[in-house]
């Protein structure tokens, strides 16, 4: 199997996740899309490790896994806190830090 095809699949998954981050306004969907992007990066790492026969790709996947787990736990705690304080999950309504002055 060509390693190009695996990298193409990883690139497609990454772009789909990036599209989700850029287009969706629900904060839960943004977190899901970030998970998809991390997963695609892991696919690329494992494909590269399998291509060169080195264990570094799978080791990097373990680190990506731990990073994704801690990121999603903190992110979901923030989602719950935002929902309890603002009663919405729309990120375009969370503009408390925005200036009122029209420029």
């Amino acid at each position: 199997m060509q390693s190009y095809s695996v990298l193409v699949v990883a690139a497609i998954l990454f772009v789909l996740g990036l599209l989700g981050v850029l287009t969706r306004r629900n904060i839960i969907f943004i977190l899901i899309s970030v998970e998809i992007m991390l997963n695609a990066a892991g696919v690329a790492f494992v494909a590269a490790g399998a291509r060169w026969g080195q264990p570094d790709g799978q080791v990097m996947f373990l680190f990506i896994l731990a990073m994704a787990a801690s990121e999603v736990s903190v992110g979901l705690a923030l989602v719950m806190q935002v929902y309890h304080q603002h009663k919405t999950l729309d990120v375009s309504k969370l503009n408390n830090l925005k200036d009122d002055i029209e420029t």
């Binding site: 629900n26 998809i36 264990p55 790709g57 736990s73 806190q81």
Partner: protein
């Protein structure tokens, strides 16, 4: 082995497209499980069964369960139950079912056709992974421990419910306002 890779990558990409186009978070999570299973099949066809197992256990198991818990905790009340009843129409779960049945057919094909001919040989010896992880990457492992510790403390601190004031000075101001309005 090539066609199994192509089928599972098509399943994964289709499920990911469905994830980012759904309106309800629960439907998106159903498709996200299928996407992770497809990616696990890609790992298996790459000759990395350890990573495929971790993908299923941690991504499709732990992280999805975390998302589903939060989605369930955010939807409280009776109207959400009615909404839930409307969501579980057959057209919502028939899409993920078709995609998972394709993956199940691949798995059955692997089992029936015999292991050694279809399942690829491991391109990386499994023994080399922990040797490398606890050898040259030992500092990264310790930093990952710090990261997980910070994550668990941060999640426990942020997720508390009794946080009513943005800052303690604001709390004092509001207490003073209450006190002056009482007297």
């Amino acid at each position: 082995m090539n066609y199994l890779f192509y089928i599972s990558s098509i399943v994964a990409i289709a499920a990911t497209v469905m994830v980012i186009t759904r309106h309800q978070p629960v439907h998106a999570l159903l498709y996200l499980v299928v996407s992770f299973l497809g990616v696990a099949m890609i790992f298996l066809s790459l000759g990395a069964p350890f990573v495929a197992t971790l993908e299923i256990i941690l991504y499709a198991g732990a992280i999805i369960v975390l998302f589903i818990f939060v989605v369930m905790m955010l939807n409280l009340g009776r109207e959400s139950a009615i909404q839930e009843k409307q969501w579980m129409q057959p057209k919502t779960w028939i899409g993920p079912s078709i995609l998972t049945v394709i993956l199940l057919a691949e798995l059955l094909l692997l089992i029936v056709m015999g292991g050694s001919t279809t399942i690829p040989q491991q391109t990386v010896d499994l023994k080399k992974i922990p040797l490398s992880l606890y050898g040259e990457y030992i500092i990264a492992v310790e930093l990952t421990g710090f990261l997980l510790m910070a994550g668990i403390v941060g999640a426990a601190h942020i997720g508390r419910h009794k946080k009513k004031y943005l800052h303690r000075f604001l709390k004092q101001e509001e207490d003073a306002v209450h006190f002056s309005s009482k007297t």
